[in-house]
């Protein structure tokens, strides 16, 4: 029942970028930021995602005019690939090739080597450099990740990552950014990914490197945007479920964090499993549900070949085209008319 609603909202994210772009007027606190000094300013407006955190959502800075005129380089990075909790955030950052050095002067570095405060401050600096630096984010909600990975035709995290990255580059191109160079931290084998992206964007020089976030400042900048967004989203997660006062002490969200494990055990519902905050497709979540929640059987569950054949009575494919399937009532030779078998209707002898 919930799905149609969510689906109807999804196209809005993808097809009408105009309404996704969080323009400057929205975070109106610049003077306040300078006044407040030490305390962390709210630098990113995430209200658009927080309104419905079950879907994929795009946030973006305004496009600097200079990026539309000059050749630009673009960095791609992601945050929150491994955790069992919270969204995965993809970020792109772009600036004119001529301004690469200016970016270095901002001393953006790989987001993993920085403390949270340092990241916030760096994001602040990027924001101040808005005359030549632009960014865009795609927040993939944990629900999106779960449903992608667990749907009938499996859509794995790598494919999801690649497609999200491609979508963001497309967004930049569609917004008029003169992208000439792309730098990406690799997901999967670097050569394959590089080939895929090069083919997708002919005329753009694509560089896929492991550890790209520490090699290229533009990738570091993208990683900071992504990480800051993820931190904020996770901290202020709006639970769609009625859970009362939710214990927000879920640690890092990584599967090996004891706090995360404790939290997962605490919020396991025997019927529904977890809130949408949890990535159901993670083996951590699945193992816990397998052992502690009610068993749920799906149509496409993998069964042992033998068992599946037994269940289906090992009938030949051809039999489906001739005789009406009988055997609904095992101990009887009697076959119901196909009117009933086709409609899966049968008589009962007890309730």
């Amino acid at each position: 029942m919930v799905w149609p609603q969510q689906k109807s909202q999804k196209p809005a994210d993808e097809e009408e970028p105009a309404c996704d772009v969080i323009g400057r007027p929205k975070y109106a606190g610049e003077t306040n930021i300078e006044e407040s000094g030490q305390s962390l300013p709210v630098v990113m407006d995430l209200s658009h995602f927080e309104k419905d955190n079950s879907v994929s959502c795009r946030l973006a800075s305004p496009i600097p005019d200079v990026c539309k005129m000059e050749d630009c380089c673009l960095g791609i990075d992601e945050a929150g690939r491994g955790p069992v909790l919270g969204p995965m955030v993809y970020g792109i950052c772009f600036c004119p090739v001529s301004k690469k050095e200016d970016l270095k002067d901002l001393q953006v570095a790989d987001s993993k080597t920085l403390t949270e405060t340092e990241r916030e401050n760096l994001f602040q600096k990027l924001d101040e450099a808005r005359s030549y630096v632009g960014w865009a984010l795609q927040i993939l909600s944990p629900n999106t990740i779960s449903t992608s990975m667990l749907q009938r035709t499996k859509y794995n995290l790598n494919a999801l990552s690649h497609d999200t990255a491609i979508g963001l580059v497309q967004y930049a191109l569609a917004s008029g950014v003169q992208v000439k160079e792309i730098y990406v931290d690799t997901v999967g084998p670097a050569e394959k990914y590089e080939e895929k992206l090069s083919q997708r964007f002919p005329g753009i020089e694509v560089t896929v490197r492991p550890k790209a976030d520490s090699l290229f400042p533009i990738v570091s900048a993208a990683s900071i945007c992504a990480k800051v967004a993820r931190d904020h989203v996770v901290k202020g997660w709006n639970f769609a479920e009625v859970l009362g006062d939710v214990d927000k002490d879920y640690g890092s969200g990584y599967p090996n964090d004891p706090k995360t494990k404790t939290w997962l055990s605490k919020y396991l519902d025997p019927v529904f499993g977890y809130p949408q905050f949890v990535r159901f497709s993670w083996s951590t979540a699945q193992t816990l549900m397998d052992s502690k929640a009610v068993t749920v059987h799906w149509d496409d569950d993998e069964e042992d070949g033998e068992k599946a054949a037994q269940r289906q009575n090992n009938r030949s494919m051809l039999s489906y085209f001739s005789a009406a399937p009988g055997g609904n009532i095992p101990n009887q030779t009697h076959q119901s008319h196909r009117f009933f078998t086709e409609r899966r209707l049968k008589s009962l002898d007890t309730l």
Binding site: V271, H297, A323, F340, R343, S347, L348
Partner: protein
Amino acid sequence: MATKKKRAPNVENDSWVVVAADSVIDTRTRDRNPSFVRLRNPSTDAASLYMLGSGDVQLYEVKAFEEDFHSWFVGQTVQRDGRLLFVTAMDPLYLILPYLIKSDKEGKFQPVDQIVMDEEFPACSRLLSCTRSLVSLHHITEEKEVGNLKFHRYSQEKTMNWLKKKVERTVVALKKRNISVGEGVKSTTYIRVKSDSDYSEVDYLRYAHGLISDYISEDLSKALLSHLQLPELTSPKETEPPSKKRKLSDKPVEAGEDYTKFNSADFARKPPKKMTAAQKTLAKVDKTGMKPMSSFFSPKVKAEKK
């Protein structure tokens, strides 16, 4: 992870999801509740579930829609069986008919309450209180009235005519509901190539006969088929090809070249075992330059001497 899920045994339900006619719960006339009863199914001769309307005035059959992998959310609870029960009105004559046929062997006119008796299903006598039972008995029996008492004897001829009418009415219903009756179409979800007008009257008759046959004995069904002047169909099973390739011989295949060890008597081809995910990943590991585990257990002496 793809673990083996064990199916918990089906726990008995104390509630069901039922689709029923309004008349089922209409208790205005009598103050008794409708009840589920087990009665003899005329087609299978075994027990089937039926429902008798309030005060036994109306008979309903109970059919269940049942498919794998379904469950219900009912209010704030989960119901494990995804069954949907249908309670639909039914002509009680179908259930009375087998008793009449059975008593016909005695060839006598009898009061109907002596005929409709069953030690196994004592509830069958309640069928006679249905509003339609006694008034429509004349469709399938010859009647004699002595004083205030009515006596009945089964009539094959009347029954055939009655069933024929049922088939004809079913044909009308089938046409009205656009039910696909052609032999070529087996799935109702299929998009039909043939339009309805392409089905012959025989297709409809045969389908309706099959449907009615679910409510009468096999003998009666055969008799009805000839009464409708429909030729008997050869069993569809005979036309079904064997489900598996037949082995030509049980002997192992003799190889042209010398693969003797595979042909030795005690060699049995084992089916390739499915590997677990962990084993699969292990199998992919680059093992160049690694000693096999077994080498650690074999005598080292010779290797050391060389």
